[in-house]
């Protein structure tokens, strides 16, 4: 992607990495942040945008998305996913490796990175699989994949059930400084489950996944990370006990980072009542006590990052009986509006903390450039309009898929401009 | 403008006089009461059938076997009026209807559709030797080629009024009224 230069004038700049929340001009020259200041002037040829009344943040980063390419391009491609990310205010996304074929070799990592660069929208960072073919048996070539651009190693969607393999992965990854990201789920306890196990699943006659299936695995991962001193990144935490276990592990000094997803922050298993497949996901939507605990974990920093787990599915696949429909919802184009309206808007997080959870911390947890507007940082910027009222219209998504339980929600606040490397990749 | 939406055509005494005459006609037509069966159509036709049975018993010394037909499941207008949750039971006399002269008793003969349903149901129950139709009130408006054999009273209905037969079991009195549309029974 060619580097650009631009000047964003008069916005409220919120950059938690520098504890900054003030009206500033942001100058980007040749793709990197050149200056923050007042009354800055633009170099010749640079685009000047008046963003007064708007909020300017370091580019938002989603560390958990499924772009489906290669193999399931009917759901999403790297290009459509990168455009959806840009439209949602994200300047970078981290693509999960559970594609077909699985991203478990340096060539495939390089392919994802190259396709991402070609898209010319949000930056796309590849990840590589922990195990060859996500089979949970033998380590994939982690070092080579990292050299090819993988920013994390994960078997997402396929929990690593073999604790010995998890030990090896965490130990081996230490030498490369990347996190091992795990989808915490004990497959024995969750076997056959299609939703949260509880009164709702009992009433609906649908097999459930108990909280314990996630809790057991979170605790296992924390203990293995503790003794290996590796970096474990726990994905989409959804249970009350899981949040508490992470909180305690952090207090003990375990190197753990963890995600909260917008849907686990805002919805409970009541959303699947009536066999609504658009609310079917894994981990499942749980009870109100769990939802509140995830929110509290996000508030107090136990959960470091907000990540969408953007999981596109073709409408035919969701248009099935509940048991037969796949898990997952798209999230890139709703996350900012949902979080601004229902997390910041309800006073759970202030705006700088939201930016920290969606930009600064994701960059830090995954060792990515960005997450800051310090001099010399990538010229990645998200411009938010906090007052824009809008209605979620899945038909208007840039994503190739529309599977969301949030269709029709009335939201306040959205990204109105997304800048990557000094170039505008989305404006709306 | 009529003074009352409900105009009496026959009072209790008039109905009883008519029933007594109809009972005689039934016996005459059958040449006695051997092989005679009365089948009243629910609801009201069955009440009238019981009154006719009593009249015949008074005159002949013994009652003819009497039953009741519920034609709900034989109606042809389910799609228009919707299902009727209360379905009555059809009751046949102990010896059935095969080879008998069956007198179908109803309150009002109007479109003829009720009688059509009753005939169909009757044929499912057996093979009567002969079927007669006996109604307390007959008016015009037939939609099927059906006519009564024994009639209590012919009523000329000028507009879109309805002829209503009232029986003690359902309506607390015996009579026939002409009713303005919109007036509920």
């Amino acid at each position: 992607m060619s580097a650009g230069s631009m000047l964003l004038k008069g916005g409220r700049v919120v950059d938690p990495s520098q504890s900054l929340d003030a009206v500033r001009d942001v100058l980007i020259v040749d793709g990197v942040v050149a200056a923050l200041g007042t009354d800055l002037s633009a170099p010749e040829g640079a685009r000047v945008v008046d963003v007064s009344g708007k909020v300017v943040t370091p580019g938002l980063i989603d560390v958990h998305v499924h772009l489906r390419e290669p193999g399931q391009e009917h759901k999403e491609t790297i290009a459509t996913g990168a455009r959806a990310a840009a439209a949602g205010g994200f300047t970078a996304v981290v693509a999960m490796p559970n594609t077909d074929p699985v991203i478990d070799s340096p060539a495939l990592v390089a392919y994802v990175a190259a396709e991402g660069a070609k898209a010319g929208a949000a930056r796309v960072y590849p990840t590589g699989a922990i195990s060859l073919g996500l089979a949970g048996e033998r380590l994939a070539p982690m070092g080579e994949m990292i050299e090819a651009g993988a920013v994390a190693i994960t078997d997402d969607g396929h929990p690593v059930m073999d604790s010995g393999l998890m030990r090896l992965a965490l130990e081996y990854a230490r030498g490369f400084g990347v996190p091992i990201a795990d989808h915490p789920e004990d497959l024995g306890l969750s076997a056959g489950g299609q939703m949260n196990e509880g009164v709702m699943s009992s009433r609906m006659g649908v097999r459930g996944k108990p909280n314990a299936s996630e809790d057991v695995h979170i605790v296992r991962d924390l203990l293995v990370a503790e003794f290996t001193r590796g970096h474990i990144h726990l994905q989409h935490v959804s249970t009350r006990f899981g949040v508490e276990a992470i909180r305690q592990a952090k207090a003990r000094g375990v190197h753990v980072t963890a995600e909260a997803s917008p849907h686990h922050l805002l919805l409970t298993d009541e959303a699947v009542e009536g066999y609504r497949t658009e609310a079917k996901m894994n981990p499942p939507l749980r009870t109100e006590a769990d939802r509140a605990a995830v929110m509290e974990g996000l508030r107090d920093g136990t959960l470091d990052v907000i990540a969408t787990d953007h999981a596109p599915h073709h409408y035919d696949e969701k248009e099935q009986a509940f048991d037969d429909a796949p898990n997952g919802i798209v999230g890139l184009e709703t996350a900012v509006g949902l979080i601004l309206t229902h997390v910041v808007g309800k006073g759970v997080l202030d705006l700088p903390t939201m930016v920290e959870r969606m930009s600064t911390q994701p960059a830090r947890a995954f060792g990515l450039p960005g997450g800051t507007l310090a001099d010399g940082a990538p010229g990645d910027v998200t411009v938010l309009d906090l007052d824009a009222s809008w209605t979620v219209d899945p038909d208007a998504f840039e994503s190739r898929s529309r599977n969301t339980p949030f269709g029709g929600w009335e939201l306040t606040g959205r990204a109105v401009m997304t800048v990557v490397g000094g170039r505008v990749v989305y404006e709306g | 403008m009529r003074a009352s939406p409900r105009m009496p055509l026959m009072d209790d005494a008039a109905v009883r006089r008519a029933l007594a005459r109809m009972a005689r006609e039934i016996v005459e037509r059958n040449g006695g009461i051997d092989g005679l069966v009365l089948m009243g159509i629910r609801r009201r036709g069955d009440v009238l059938a019981a009154l006719l049975r009593d009249e015949i018993q008074r005159a002949e010394g013994r009652p003819p076997p009497t039953g009741a037909l519920d034609i709900t499941l034989y109606r042809d207008d389910l799609a228009e009026v919707g299902p009727r949750p209360v379905i009555g039971e059809t009751q046949l006399p102990p010896d059935g209807i095969d080879g008998h002269t069956v007198v179908i008793v109803d309150d009002v003969l109007y479109t003829g559709r009720t009688v059509r349903a009753a005939l169909n149901e009757l044929m499912d129950w057996g093979r009567p030797a002969r079927v007669l139709l006996c109604v307390l009130a007959e008016r015009d408006g037939r939609e099927l080629p059906i006519q009564a054999d024994i009639v209590g009273r012919r009523v000329d209905v000028p507009g879109d009024e309805r002829v209503e037969v009232l029986v003690p079991a359902e309506d607390d009195r015996l009579g026939v009224d002409l009713v303005d549309p919109g007036e509920a029974r």
Partner: protein
């Protein structure tokens, strides 16, 4: 074109959950006269003449399908059976495509059994035809629930205040769920009894009591509804052995006699004699299992009849993809 009329049940019968006590009583009361039709010489009335009904069975079933078929034929409907073997079901056609095909063929009613919970509702929301759930996954089997209610009412009078215990594999049972929702709606007290591995999580929060021992359940209950123990549950490890299941949870004559009480025993069939129920109970004086079978036809006739009034207004809404 007929004008819009609405059935007392709405367009479909997907489950007993959400039906009012009045609606359930209407079905049971309507079933009464239908019992008599099956005794007639000509066991047929013309009320559904000209209606087309498809029996769409994605799972094998003999008794439910036969019972529906008798009910349909006794009401003079034209019926077509589609079962999973030999139909496009096995060729990978999706449920939504099946639904569209039925719609294109102008079917009046669909009776469906499907392995996935929620499948009946899924179909009902997508086609204008009346949909009757003949069992969806582990969710509901409403006509079985209704015939159980009718049988209990026949033998014990009003359901209100009766104590009914469902014994066995409640977890996997759509019969259990329909019984629970129907019985609670009519004001019965409901409990379940069985190994904890076969009871759903949070069952108490549905207003249902739990007995650990079948002897205690028998002391408490007026009616036992004994569920079939699918043999694959043992392979699934939910119970260690059939012998142990019978010894601990089996409904035996000795246990019934020990209570000194006159319990009514139901079983939705097919029975595993010597597992969940002993033969001397199944064939004994407590059992009303064959009455259930007879009532099954009457209840299904009542449901078909009540839904058949049609509700074109709602059907239209379903066609548009809205709530029906």
């Amino acid at each position: 074109m007929s004008r819009a009329v609405s059935s007392p049940l709405g367009k479909d019968l997907v489950g007993l959950e959400g039906l009012s006590a009045d609606q359930i009583r209407t079905i049971l009361d309507t079933a009464e006269p239908f019992k008599e039709i099956s005794q007639r010489r000509v066991k047929k009335v013309p009320v559904l003449r000209g209606k087309t009904i498809v029996n769409l069975f994605f799972e094998p079933s003999t008794r439910t399908r036969v019972s529906f078929e008798f009910a349909e034929k006794r009401l003079s409907a034209d019926t077509v059976n589609i079962s999973s073997s030999g139909s496009s079901v096995v060729k990978g056609e999706t449920l939504v495509d099946t639904a569209r095909n039925l719609e294109a063929m102008q079917i009046d009613m669909v009776v469906m059994r499907h392995g996935s919970s929620g499948a009946a509702r899924f179909l009902a929301e997508r086609i204008p035809s009346n949909v009757i759930n003949a069992g969806d996954g582990r969710h509901e089997h409403p006509t079985q629930g209704l015939l159980d209610l009718l049988t209990i009412r026949d033998h014990r009078g009003p359901i209100e205040g009766l104590k009914v215990c469902i014994v066995g594999d409640v977890l996997h049972s759509r019969v259990a769920r329909s019984n629970i929702f129907g019985l609670l709606a009519l004001g019965a007290e409901v409990a379940v009894c069985g190994p904890r591995t076969l009871l759903p999580v949070g069952i108490e929060e549905m207003g249902v009591g739990v007995f650990a021992r079948v002897e205690e359940a028998m002391e408490w209950a007026d009616v036992l509804n004994v569920l079939r123990l699918q043999l694959e549950r043992m392979q699934g490890g939910f119970v260690p052995s059939l012998r142990e299941y019978n010894r601990i949870y089996g409904v035996s004559r000795a246990r019934l006699d020990a209570t000194g009480r006159d319990l009514l025993v139901l079983h939705p069939g097919p029975m595993n004699r010597g597992v969940e129920i002993d033969s001397d109970v199944a064939d004994g004086p407590h059992s009303v299992i064959l009455n259930q079978v007879t009532n099954g036809v009457a209840v299904r006739m009542a449901v078909l009849y009540l839904l058949a009034g049609g509700a074109p207004d709602k059907a239209e809404a379903a066609k548009q993809g809205g709530e029906a």
